[in-house]
């Protein structure tokens, strides 16, 4: 027995030793390697190797701008419109209290912790960060290594610098005094610059890059261009008195003229006004001749579609439009605004929705029936120009007293019915030529001591005329007497309702914090700026809170 056992043991020991030896190098090599392999994610340091990668980074800030420039998220648009005198998001029954955030915007009682204010800050600075990141990466790389010509590389960085300036412009509009950062991550805690300093930085950036940037053309649909640069200058100089302390009326007029004279290209041939009230807003408004800069959508081809439907649409809105898109029954027109439109004004019917609602294509025969267990469940949807609990016979009208049908509704941009070849593809115009006409008119009037000149009247009438029939027009056109500053503000309101400019306008006209409207009373003067969000102040000791707000 013994010899056999020993032999077997020996053999086994041999096997064990050889196996161990064989395994040793395998273990030594791989046994402590913890490198990560990314299968489905891109790592920043191996990007920007070809033109498609570069373009995809250049375009990133645009899809992001959809988030903050258009309605639908708490970005620049909501702060600008829901704190002004035309639109509000009142509580409607069980819906829309939303922690009081819309009420505080309407009352101008927002706090330094306000989520709408923080969210706008985050969205804008993140967009700006996308610009900084792409600028830094593209400028820091050799054109040929990215598969670009030097001209293409300069074009991209010029465009991105203009787009970055646009972010700064709107940040300055909302928050006034902000840091200036041009490199991602540096410095870690940037310091606050005064609004005037920010103003000069933006002005310089635009001036330095406007000529490097391409002219507006169809290929630049939805992109920043030289034309967009001039529109930014027009906005800067129009508000310069407020923003930098110095009026710049002549610079403003010059920037407007560059566009009115179509020196910077146009999206569909020369930049000219659209001739009717619908071309700028229809599903295929990429054919518009007057849009200067827009956020471009194409649901049919790419699934990218407007996000504002949630803010504007009723729970059953889709039936009105012949599509399945409904909303959260949020933003409505403040009572009284509707009646500032004359009945002869075609914008009243074309851009606003009031009264009993009918199913799309039914020629007003099939009513839209409310569903979802709200006030008018099972009954026809009828939008009314008041915000109160009519179902209970109440006449109390304030921000908490709405019902599902309260308020006149948005109908300016159109998704189109399901069958429309451009369904859900209407671009959101950030700048359009009509607005440049008004900017020039306002600059002329302000330069003229607040009195209209014939040139200003002509500019405004050119736009307004589109809203009236030939027969009605003579009785409704402005003259140098009737176009007062107050009237200009009212007409701005009618022409640019829903477009995001109302807060800026009220501030320029000195009414934002002094005026009263519907459920809103005059607020403190410092409310002309929103506060720097408290969370950021706590993180960055170099930030300074705006006057009037607690730290």
């Amino acid at each position: 027995m013994y010899p056999f056992k020993t032999c077997r043991m020996k053999r086994f020991k041999k096997i064990a030793v050889y196996t161990s030896l064989a395994l040793l190098p395998v273990l030594a090599n791989s046994c402590t390697n913890l490198d990560e392999k990314a299968y489905d994610t891109l790592l920043t340091n191996n990007f920007y190797n070809n033109k498609n990668e570069v373009v995809s980074a250049v375009l990133r800030p645009y899809t992001h701008a959809n988030a903050w420039i258009t309605p639908g998220q708490s970005g620049w648009w909501r702060l600008s419109e829901l704190s002004a005198d035309q639109l509000a998001w009142p509580q409607k029954g069980r819906h829309g209290y939303d922690n009081g955030q819309w009420i505080r915007l309407h009352y101008h009682t927002w706090t330094v912790d306000e989520s709408t204010v923080l969210n706008c800050w985050n969205l804008l600075w993140t967009g700006l960060g996308f610009c900084n990141d792409a600028i830094g990466n593209i400028e820091g790389r050799d054109a040929a290594k990215m598969g670009l010509t030097q001209e293409e590389k300069d074009g991209f960085t010029g465009e991105l610098r203009l787009l970055r300036a646009f972010h700064y412009l709107r940040l300055m509009d909302i928050y006034g005094n902000i840091p200036i950062v041009t490199t991602v991550g540096e410095p870690v805690s940037p310091e606050t610059k005064t609004r005037a300093e920010v103003f000069s930085f933006i002005e310089q950036e635009i001036k330095d890059n406007i000529d490097k940037s391409p002219n507006l053309s169809k290929a630049l649909l939805g992109r920043m261009s030289k034309a967009g640069g001039y529109a930014m200058l027009a906005e800067m100089y129009l508000n310069a008195e407020k923003w930098s302390g110095t009026a710049r009326w002549d610079d403003c007029i010059a920037a407007c003229d560059a566009l009115i004279n179509s020196t910077a290209g146009g999206m569909n041939g020369a930049l000219v006004l659209d001739t009717n009230l619908t071309d700028t807003y229809k599903p295929n408004n990429d054919l518009s001749k007057e849009i200067i800069f827009s956020i471009a959508y194409d649901y049919i081809i790419s699934n990218f579609s407007p996000q504002w439907t949630g803010d504007f649409y009723h729970f059953n809105q889709g039936q009105i439009n012949g599509n399945p898109i409904n909303g959260n029954d949020g933003v409505v027109v403040i009572p009284g605004v509707y009646t500032t439109f004359e009945d002869a004004d075609k914008r009243k019917k074309e851009w606003l929705l009031i009264g009993p609602q009918w199913k799309y294509g039914s020629a007003d025969t099939l009513p839209v029936i409310c569903s979802g267990g709200n006030e008018y469940d099972g009954k026809q949807l009828v939008f009314v120009d008041n915000i109160r609990k009519n179902a209970q016979g109440s006449t109390v009208s304030d921000m908490t007293q709405g019902e599902e049908n309260s308020g006149v509704r948005f109908n300016k941009y159109r998704l189109g019915p399901l069958t429309d070849p451009s369904y859900r593809s209407c671009d959101w115009a950030v700048y359009r030529l009509s607005w440049i006409y008004f900017v020039k008119a306002e600059a002329i009037m302000r330069k003229n001591g607040g009195v209209a000149t014939q040139e200003a009247v002509d500019l405004v009438n050119t736009i307004k005329k589109r809203a009236y029939s030939a027969a009605d027009w003579p009785a409704h056109q402005y003259t140098t007497t009737t176009l007062t500053m107050d009237e200009l503000l009212a007409e701005l309101g009618r022409e640019f309702i829903f477009e995001g400019y109302r807060r800026q306008e009220l501030i320029r006209f000195g009414k934002y914090t002094t005026g009263t409207w519907w459920d809103h009373n005059a607020s403190e003067a410092y409310r002309e700026l929103f506060p720097i969000p408290r969370t950021q102040l706590q993180l960055n000791a170099n930030l300074k809170q705006n006057d009037g707000y607690p730290n």
Partner: protein, 968 residues
Amino acid sequence: MLAFSQSRTITGKVVDASGQSPLPGVTVQVKGATIGTQTKVDGSYSLNVPGGAVTLVYTFVGYKTTEMPVGTSNTINISLAADVTALKDVVVVGYGTQKKQEVTSAITSIEPTDFRQSGARNALDLVQGKVAGLQITRTGGSNPNTSPAVQLRGVTSLTGSMSPLIVIDGIPGGNLDLLQQDDIASISVLKDGSAAAIYGTQANGGVIIVTTKKGVKGPARVTYNNYFRKEYKARLPKFLTPDEYAAKIADGEINATDKGYRTDFVDLLVNHDNLTQNHNLAFSGGSEQSSYRASVYYLNQEGILKANERQQYGGRLSITSKGLNDRLTSQFNLATNFNKANLLTDGGNLQGYYTFNPTYSPYNPDGSWYFEQTSTNELARINQQTDIRQQQTTSGDAKVSLDIVKGLKASIFGSVTRDSYSEGSYANLLSELSVENYDSTGYAFQSSFLNIKYAVEPTLEYNITVNKNHNFSLIGGYSYRYEVEQYFDAGNYGFVNDIFQENNLGAGNMLLTGKANMSSYKNDNKLIAFFGRINYNYKDKYMASVILRHEGSSRFGANNKWGNFPALSVGWNMRDEPFMQDVTFLDDLKLRAGYGVTGNSGINNYSSLVTMGTGGNYLNPDGVWRQTYGPNKNPNPNLKWEKKSEYNVGVDFSFFKGRLSGAVDVYKRITKDLLENVTTQLPPFVTNSIYANVGQVSSKGVEITLSGVTVRTKDFSWNVDVAFSNSKNTLDRYSNDLYTIKYQSYADIGGYGALGNAIRTYEGDRIGNFYGKRFAGLTDSGDWLFYKADGTKAPADQLDSEKDFKVIGNAVPKVYLSFTNTFKYKNFDLRAFFRGKFGYNILNTMEMFYGSKASLPSNVLETAFTKNGKITGGYQYSDYYIEKGNFMKLDELTLGYTVPFKSKKTFQNLRLYVTASNLWLITKYSGNDPDYVRDTGLKPGVDALNASDDRTPYMGTRGFMFGLNVGF
């Protein structure tokens, strides 16, 4: 010396002491000699013993080793008593077992006889309420497609994994789907850090080690277990009945149209014919050299709701063999589970039907389904849609051990677990989903998933005794684990009929127009560790254990991939000390103390890297819409382990000859460097958050386990088992050198009115603090008034959340208590298992949303007109809706009968039983069953939050079961 006297043959028969059935395979040996034999099938034996033999030793697994003196008679018949304690004496610890009296850390082991018996939907259901300090909460109620939330000794992480590591037969990260209750031999819970540290970076949430049944030496045995269960509705919220609702329309209290129907909508979704059945058939046996156990099972679970089922079958095979003169031991396990789940009902989605106007009908007058844009017709949905997931999970593992020289053993363990599923869903052309979202052209979807986990763990063990009394047991090892996961899905619509369903995705039209969708992902991670443990034992009186694990994970930052996890524990068996000899009532007394460090690597893959994220399509200059990319994360190369250090002091005791035994443990644990997405400076960064190590949570508590024999007579016995735990879990800090955060908010109430977060935790506060407005009455018109900080009353919009809001309750139970009463009378057994939670609050969202006239004309709870009838204001979150959650329930009541067999020739044993689950609930809480409200994690205590619609929980049930266990 008489030693050389004549040898003789002794014969006899060995039987089981309780049933007197013959025991085959019993080893009969002459004490002090190598002479021995085994009993035959009829229990008989015959052994030739030398004349000097004094004693015979009878050993058999599962029975007490018994010695019999060799007298003058040549016949020795003996009955062996089952050794109940023998099995319990060995406790499964990480990478091995230990004798219970040597254990120096807090470990609780649960055997099948103690399992919660109500038809487990998940293996962890078996130990719910059985282990002090282990919280198992079924937020999904009795939904067969959900697993419970599990948490041990409080919250240990903010964003990482909080669940315990599951180890099944040595497979780390084992898959619970592979465990059937009849296959489990024991569930061992390593509670404190000194026990869990051997598992290093996955052990912050504790470790649960499951051991499955193995074959034992002896003739083939067959066992068959089954049960049948039927469930009934329990504790449904009291919405207005159709008649009550119609009456209120008639008298003008509800402004709605009475359409004339009277529909109990929710009842339409109830599967009144539900029946769950479980069958498990196991074969086992073995010889000296090898043993086996194989089992197959079939389990078909039907939920209380329609389209809510889970059908499973599979098996488990275990083979153990010895070779090389017993020096080489190998153990192979193979387990598989096939299951087919009907996921259509999801978590219930009952909200819509509870609140639907009950004078409506789910049908139009012409018999077609009634649809409206703003709600979902759930009955139509389960008739017109499908959603089936077919999953297969398999694990295989092997362990080969070689005794190299005496005391030195080398082993290698390897395992692979493969989990994959294929899911398909389809919505008919005429279904509501299709009509309202997909242009009435149907919607088809398929997805597939594959996850594979590999582990290789070579170990070297060495046992040595020095100077007789110094026992050392050493183990050292290396662990390599790799996990890879991938997923693919595709969806399409634009179908012309319903024939293809999801089986011909390409036929849908939307591939051409770009509206079809497709996505996939793949990621992997690695965990590598070196570990070692030394156990020292002096005379079984003084014990010490030292552990060190050095572990690295690919998920962490380049600067901090590796971490060290040490532990030390000591124990003292006082019973054996001379000064205790006179304390006669004492059977056992052991003091334990331990300290251990563990970590948490349960975070997302690639967390430390900067990645480029997609940003949606945008128009390129060439007219093509292409994907955009931008940075979507801030990098953190310093990302490192969350580390928990824990102290545990405990005592194990047994008094009065086992009449009273138990354990008391006191612990304190601190988890540092908690990972959280903290807000960064923005600008200059691109995104406003960074994943960084910032916070610290701690918890401390007491756990008591008691087991008492209240009555013990010949025919009747009454045992009581109690598990008690009390803990306090606080968020100590929420900042580091770079980032300071004052508080963090959790539990978004959401819904109509966006009421914000219910829970806000400031630094130093207990986890789970409700933070909000304080109710101060109503105005004359019924509008809300709340207290401001200065004590004055004001409407909601005048309150400042920083100043006027206060802590208005806490959602984490301070005390968990459960007790089991087991009665035995002759062949009958009766078990009553009570389980409860105390000292906490629940936010009653049912009242908040549906006990309010603001909800009208949707259907509301009766309380909208009674208790809350005066309120006219909209939805407000305040302490008005905070209630005490305390409850105690009769979780399980089982009556069993064991059939006494005179002869065990065919039947070894047969037991029949009936069980009622969730029979009786005592609580003052007025909402849903508080047992289903989440009490783990960072957003506990909000009723029905985390349900499928975040509004209404899965339907409460009461179950009745009939089952039998039989052995051949």
